[in-house]
């Protein structure tokens, strides 16, 4: 592990104990979304559109309603018409994506839902719902959607971000633009210029747990919801919006969540479980099948990206021009905004134009996926940079070092970077033995870098000291990959008591203050800061109690190693245990709350080194060796920091080599299964070597930056650059499947 900051001698932060929720998860006791069973519970099933684009002429539910065991059938008409009520357009989109009203906009779009006594009855009833459609022409890609005579998904969509606003509607929801300097002058100063066009396909987050929700409604309109999500407060807000009720009428409890990667920050099932539960007066469980997960949730955007960059002989980037179009799926909101901000953020570039378009098409509405928008842009930019380095005969790492953003660099998207660790990740790669390991025949080595902002947002925490001096740390951030451990480690450090004495809890929406979603690499940063704040309030309270007990001034008491000590040693120390046992005599229960808007994010950088071997006769690429270096700021929980780094890399490798949405000409997904979607399996991979770089974020009490996302940004370019190094073909299309690589090799030979 590369440590670039002096170790401040923490007792718990940076250690590798067993996670607090581990035992339940290795013994099968942990309750995930689909595991809850309530007395009298009904099983639900959703009815989905078989068409990519169609008008709903009629829905006949009578046959389904009369079937044995069926207790409720609902359609879009059973929900308030938010558009007619003048709701915010983004809320209208959430509602219309949850269940279609007039038109279906993608294959898999929900049109109805049923609830019945048994699973089989629900499935039979769902098949009996008769929907009459008028099939409409559809568009599947940005090219089709942006064509002049393209059929429109939303008749009223006027492109935002264009001045003056266009008069005619289109499928372009918005335009973004970032520019600086003089592009023409920049390219004029260049000694080498490379221009390339790239395409990528939609890919799915691929969490192993399908979406699941259980709702239990009362006759007074209140409802309890259990669901696996990345943020039960967010689920409450969205569900209340779709149902047209006050959020306070809904209580949402977070089930354990079986992976999300951004894809569980949005709602799909919750309102569709609540409404039938209200009708039937019984709990309703809805669980998606895998093919529903593929057809109707996630994915992230397919894209087309053009990049032109120029460098001088000494490797300085003189100009960059980036044009990008991102599929949003059925409703506005692709991550093209973040893509535009991140595309060239690693580098200090004097002249650039970055232009992007958010384009709707007849595919499922895109959802966040790990550093949303950044990986595709990085694939394009980092591939072009690789080619430029070759053209001027410079090492790939060195061209990045020559242009790397550092503290004070004005980021392409606006602000000046505070202290960041990009250069340190580049140096960590250079220092690693993988960098100089000899390559075999048909093997190649590629480098790529990535940037992600990391999010802050709002978090709350409550800390209770129990009567025996242990503590319960309550947050509202679902633990998706070990965050309970990082909360417990920071609380142990602050309170000075053993990690094992801390019990971290993820509480429901009525038990703890508001928390934004578990996403944006924000939980250890922001919820962690709330935990630290609450612990510090506890320590202040404990010092005050000790001062009162000793009848001394507060400044005579310090908190060291989990006990109150008199600064001059005039009193025997009082441990947390002592103070907790006597809390009734010193002011009552010891408890503190902290809620905050994050005080400052710490940008994350990752540099990765990939070795591949390409079979020149079949086009198959195997990953031989892989190294990732990432600035964590501070690794509170190194085990789970490495886990995030490795997991992000492997998702990126899947994206690079095999994963893609395949649609037929009718807009029907052809590969909605793990068999044909082809995520990486264990035998596809080597160990993923990690180098944790620690350049602390000055805005966090422990220097945390957040680590969840940036690891997925470099892999596609790292793999593509390695393929080029191995067999001398430049891959510009994802996935770089055997078919595509062999085509490129054949074209190269001709």
């Amino acid at each position: 592990m590369a440590v670039t900051e002096e170790n401040p001698g923490y007792k718990w932060v940076g250690t590798r104990p067993i996670r607090p929720d581990g035992l339940e998860k290795v013994t099968g006791k942990a309750r995930f979304g689909a595991d809850l069973v309530l007395p009298g519970m009904l099983y639900g099933k959703v009815v989905r559109s078989p068409h990519a684009h169609a008008r709903i002429l009629s829905i006949d539910t009578s046959a389904a309603e009369s079937m044995e065991g069926v207790k409720a059938v609902i359609t879009g008409d059973d929900f308030p018409d938010l558009a007619a009520n003048g709701a915010h357009p983004s809320d209208v989109d959430v509602a219309n994506n949850t269940i279609a009203r007039d038109k279906v906009l993608y294959e898999g779009h929900v049109v109805a839902a049923v609830a019945a006594i048994t699973r089989e009855q629900a499935e039979a009833a769902a098949k009996a719902v008769e929907v009459t459609y008028e099939v409409l022409p559809h568009v599947l890609t940005v090219d089709e959607a942006m064509a002049d005579d393209a059929p429109l998904l939303h008749e009223g969509m006027i492109t935002k971000g264009v001045d003056p606003a266009p008069e005619e509607p289109s499928n372009i929801a918005s335009k973004i633009l970032h520019e600086r300097g003089d592009l023409e002058q920049g390219f004029g100063e260049a000694d080498a210029v490379v221009e390339r066009e790239f395409t990528t396909k939609p890919v799915h987050q691929g969490y192993i747990e399908p979406h699941a929700a259980v709702a239990d409604s009362n006759s007074d309109g209140r409802a309890n919801i259990w669901c696996s999500s990345q943020g039960h407060f967010q689920m409450r807000a969205y569900t209340a919006t779709v149902l047209g009720v006050s959020p306070g009428t809904l209580k949402v409890t977070a089930a354990e969540i079986g992976g999300g990667f951004g894809g569980k920050t949005v709602i799909y099932l919750e309102p569709l479980a609540v409404r039938p539960s209200q009708r039937a007066g019984r709990p309703v469980k809805l669980v998606m099948d895998r093919d529903e997960v593929f057809r109707a949730t996630g994915p992230t955007s397919g894209t087309r990206i053009k990049v032109k960059m120029g460098v001088s002989k000494d490797g300085k980037i003189t100009a960059a021009e980036v044009w990008m179009a991102y599929e949003a799926g059925a409703f506005a909101g692709s991550p093209v905004g973040a893509a535009g901000m991140t595309a060239i953020a690693c580098y200090d570039i004097p002249n650039f134009v970055v232009e992007g378009y958010d384009v709707v098409c007849n595919k499922p509405r895109v959802a966040a996926y790990r550093a949303p928008g950044a990986p595709m842009a990085a694939f394009a930019v980092e591939s072009v940079l690789d080619e430029l380095a070759r053209n001027i005969e410079m090492y790939a790492i060195d061209i990045r070092l020559a242009n790397a953003a550092v503290e004070g660099t004005q980021a392409a998207y606006g602000p000046k970077f505070p202290r960041i660790g990009f250069v340190e990740t580049l140096e960590a790669i250079k220092d690693h033995p993988n960098y100089t390991t000899e390559l075999g025949p048909n093997q190649g080595r590629g480098v790529a870098a990535g940037f992600w902002f990391n999010a802050g947002m709002m978090s709350s925490a409550t800390v209770h000291v129990n009567e025996n001096g242990t503590a319960t740390v309550v947050t509202g951030s679902p633990d998706i990959g070990g965050s309970r451990q990082s909360m417990a480690l920071m609380a142990a450090e602050e309170l000075g008591i053993p990690y094992e004495s801390i019990k971290p809890v993820v509480a429901d929406t009525e038990t703890v203050g508001f928390n934004d979603v578990t996403g944006g690499s924000r939980v250890t940063l922001a919820t962690g800061a709330a935990v630290v704040d609450a612990c510090r309030l506890i320590v202040e309270d404990l010092r005050a109690r000790a001062a009162k007990t000793w009848d001394v001034e507060l400044d005579q008491v310090e908190w060291v190693d989990g006990q109150a000590q008199h600064v001059e040693g005039a009193q025997p120390p009082l441990s947390l245990n002592d103070l907790a046992a006597k809390s009734g005599r010193t002011g009552g229960p010891i408890s503190a709350n902290a809620s905050l808007n994050s005080r400052g994010v710490g940008a994350g950088f990752s540099t990765q080194l990939c070795d591949v071997e390409v079979d020149p006769e079949t086009g198959v690429t195997r990953i031989v060796r892989y190294l990732t270096a990432q600035d964590a700021g501070r690794a509170i929980s190194p085990d789970y920091v490495e886990g995030q780094m490795q997991g992000g890399v492997v998702q990126g490798i899947g994206w690079a080599l095999n994963e893609e949405y395949i649609h037929d000409t009718e807009g029907v997904m052809e590969n909605p299964s793990f068999l044909d979607y082809r995520m990486p399996v264990a035998s596809d991979l080597p160990m993923i070597d990690c180098s944790i770089v620690e350049v602390p974020n000055p805005a966090h009490p422990y220097g945390v930056r957040g680590v969840g996302e940036v690891g997925i940004v470099p892999p596609m370019a790292a793999v593509g650059n390695a393929i080029h190094d191995a067999v001398n073909v430049r891959m510009t299309e994802l996935p770089m499947s055997p078919v595509k690589v062999l085509e490129a090799l054949n074209a190269h030979d001709e």
Binding site: R19, I257, F261, R290, G481, S673, A682, S683
Partner: protein, 158 residues
């Protein structure tokens, strides 16, 4: 439709349940027996989250019809620990941080147990191929492979 009566031994206990014939063993275990440790990730045998041992062989319980279980001996993740003492695989998964979200963990543990029962000293490649039927989207497999190696070492030492 009349339901079929099934008698099995599950995690050491004789267990009876009723099921519709077309129901998967996975759904029968989860809904009728109340053992929710095995998970459905795909329902088509592609992810391994539902892995259990049937007569000592690892199988996807989503691909078995529940009536096929009649007369068999089944081990699920809930039966892996020996009256509270964790199996070395469970302990090594915990110590090696071989899980993030944990949804795939029961399936990995059962597949890894089947491997180590058959091959106590597998190579890294053998482990990777033996676990290729189990998808994990969080970890990149690195720490899972290491945990299985560690458990194998420990079990050979006993």
């Amino acid at each position: 439709m009349p339901r079929t009566h099934i008698t099995t031994v599950i995690n050491g206990d004789e267990t009876e349940f009723l099921t519709e014939d077309g129901t998967s063993l996975l759904n029968a275990l989860r809904d009728e027996v109340g053992l929710t440790g095995a998970k459905e990730g795909c329902g088509t045998g592609d992810c391994g989250a539902c892995s259990i041992l049937v007569d000592d062989r690892v199988t996807c319980s989503c691909l078995m019809f529940a009536p096929e279980a009649d007369g068999t001996t089944i081990l699920t993740v809930e039966g892996l620990a020996d009256s509270g003492d964790l199996h070395p695989l469970q302990q090594c998964f915990l110590e090696g941080a071989a899980l993030q979200c944990g949804i795939c963990t029961p399936g990995f543990l059962m597949a890894a147990k089947a491997l180590l029962d058959k091959n106590p000293d597998p190579t890294e490649t053998e482990i990777r191929y033996a676990l290729a039927g189990n998808l994990c989207r969080c970890t990149g497999y690195d720490k899972i492979i290491r945990a299985v190696q560690e458990a194998a070492l420990e079990m050979r030492g006993k």
